[in-house]
């Protein structure tokens, strides 16, 4: 079915709010999913993978900084989804980059890391260049990178299948680099990789703005079903709370 971006955002917000995401985080999370989908980077497919787990994050410890110096930091996300922890990590990299010229933040134990693209893109708008790299998968390992130049509106994104074996010590890690001095670009050395340019990302956006978003009816239903958690049962008394006669 076809929905608008605003409908998707509103439904996702309710969904994350009902899943006990904090005020501020549920807007961020909704925007991260929407951003990927709007720009043709399969936000809804990734969100479908995350859906079974989004209610579990509330029981996990909050992210914490386990190492920090003036140009770097390491954050343990305690197996949270990037949807509700990655924005703060990018903020920290951004702040350190402004202070030191360039900074690296590594996040451990973080899932759905592709959602970082919205947060990275926001840095471009703020005059910061940013890049990220991560590996994913257990059977076959894929690798991913995204980057945006300072002042730009659209990032590049690459993904590819590697010959690497899965590593039991893999920490679901993600590395973020931010710089206020250097324009960062990234692409995979991997010959089996697929590169999506900023221009293609922009073109994908234009298509979505014109035509809206295609969504599987079952995913749409599931998002709305979870979102019901923020709605209050309708009663006669509740109707009076709207001021009607």
């Amino acid at each position: 079915m076809n929905i608008s971006m605003n409908e998707l955002k509103a439904a996702l917000r309710r969904c994350f709010e009902a899943s006990d995401y904090f005020v501020g985080n549920y807007e961020d999370a909704a925007n991260m999913v929407l951003w990927l989908e709007k720009h043709g980077l399969n936000g809804l497919s990734e969100f479908k993978l995350a859906l079974p787990y989004i209610g579990e994050d509330k029981n996990k410890p909050l992210s914490n900084v386990i190492y920090e110096d003036s140009t770097s930091a390491t954050i343990d996300a305690h197996h949270r989804s990037a949807l509700n922890c990655i924005a703060a990590a990018v903020d920290l990299a951004h702040a350190k980059a402004l202070e030191s010229g360039i900074a690296t933040v590594t996040v451990h134990n973080c899932h759905n890391r592709i959602f970082i693209l919205k947060a990275l893109t926001d840095r471009g708008r703020s005059g910061i260049s940013a890049a990220a790299y991560w590996q994913n998968g257990s059977d076959s390992v894929t690798e991913h990178t995204a980057a945006i130049r300072s002042g730009q509106r659209y990032p590049s994104y690459s993904e590819g299948v590697t010959n690497l074996k899965s590593n039991e010590n893999d920490k679901q890690a993600l590395t973020i680099i931010c710089s206020s001095r250097v324009d960062l670009t990234s692409s995979l050395q991997n010959s089996k990789s697929h590169f999506i340019s900023p221009k293609q990302v922009e073109s994908n956006k234009e298509h979505t703005v014109e035509h809206g978003i295609e969504i599987d009816a079952d995913v749409w239903e599931e998002i709305n079903k979870i979102g019901l958690g923020v709605l209050v049962e309708n009663t006669e008394r509740s109707r009076r709370d709207a001021g009607g006669n």
């Binding site: 608008s4 005020v23 924005a87 703005v209 709605l231 049962e233 509740s238 109707r239 709207a242 009607g244």
Partner: protein, 569 residues
Amino acid sequence: MTTNAAIQSSLWGENSLPLRPASQVMKLERLGAYHQSRLSFMRTLVRRIFRERWKIEPALFNLDHEGYGTVVYEVQAPHGLFSFVLFSDYLSPDERNDRVIATKWDLTMALVEGKVDQEYIEKLRENVPKQEAGRVDARVFVLSRANRSARNFDYVVNQLAAGEQPDVAKIVEVGYLYRTTAVYGSGKLGMADWEKVREKHKDFARPFAGEMFVCLMLRNFSLLQVEHIARHKSPDTFNPMKPEIKRYFGIGNSTGLGMAPYLVNHPLLINQWIEMRELALARVRVLGSINQQVRETISQLIDRSAQHTLETLTEDEWQTNNNKAVIDDMASLKSRIECGFDRWDELLEYSEQHCSLQGQEMLVSCMLEIYPELVDELEDFHSAEEFLDLDPLMPAEQLKDIIENSYDWALAIDFDAEGARETYWYRSEEKMEPRLGSVADIEGKKKQMALGVGYAVRKCYNQLIEYIAQNPEDTTARFMVAHPKLRGIVRRIQGMNRCVYGDIQANLLDREVLPMHLLRAKLAFFGVSKFDPRSRLWVRNTMFQGAPLLEEIGQTFNDDWFMPLAPKQ
């Protein structure tokens, strides 16, 4: 023609104009005392249509003698062609309901990009009359519905059929033939997102321009339909309505709580609207020359405003008293004007000392009316990029200073006082309608919407103080890693600090909060008049009363329909 840079230098820095302070302007009671002005969205839309001489003509007029059927207007505007599609269906009196939760209406409408063919009209016919229960595609960018005025519609038809004119006294009581109960845009029900409208449809690329246009077209259709029905009812005796009486018919509107969260959830946009209104006032105060003709004009506008208010009828005691105060205020201002004045500040200061808030804001609207050359160009600056970005490098200490300076009003509220947190806002499962509950309902409280900005600021401030005591040198980014739950409010505090006016200064959780002020503030920006509160939670009002008629497009246009008066009969 002004520019963003010129506006910014008027708002900020050494060369800025003397704006009224946020502590005065952003009080909820004052926002709730706003009136229409020449910057209101209805005024700017009509100016655009008439100055650009839009061509608006029926492409399909398929109504039976009772006025039921389908009508399509084609709208040729400078940047594109649009279709206004309207379905008129029979509705029994017992099905007529103004609440959002209604499921059937007399009229349903859609504003669509491009021409529509029969196949597309059929597709719309299957969905538009269902409103929330239907789906449309991204060619549609506004959907609306309306119900007949039980008091006026049949009466006007009968009068015209009998060759008589409607009694103006009756229109003073109810100034419309139809009342809209919802006007949807911005991607609802599968429609085009605002981003598409803004980028692709320049003719409607100002906030709520499409929505206002649909209401204007509804008004036009309502006048056409009553004449159509009357003509068929009695062809021999029928007489068309006089243009001056037609102009006095607007469109009714019922607005409930749904509008209130919008103001809290779009703070940058609301700030932008307020900045433009206040900038217009500052321009008038500093640059508006005053001569005898100007003195006479302001005097006439004050008279007109008093008469308009006199012709505003409401059963609501609170509003009646407000209106009486405005009429007294206008008399008082008139006396002051007759004593002479050389600076607008003299009148403003007088109003602040002697008039009600509604009277003070009426004076502001009248002042803006006199100087189109200083005011009108600001209408192109009502949009805002709604990014509440976090500034991660900001020292936590600076964040604390911002709260103490910009949110002193929130820190001054005792949230532990009885009733200070007794109201909460929630969404009902019935069409997700926003509602207002009291703490007595536990379930609703758990699911309340995050609209208590003042209280959130207070909680943030308390935690920030503790954090700074331990980490005095830290940045906001570091504070956010330690307190991720505060991300939303910190981003808002920093974002709104980049604005002149910032957040609405009120505790929306207070037992005594009057949502009516929020509704009225937004409606005044739209340009409505004749506020008629039906409870503390919803209000009836009139749109486009006094506006020129569509058949007058192309004729001389003087943009003078501020505070319209009943025509002499």
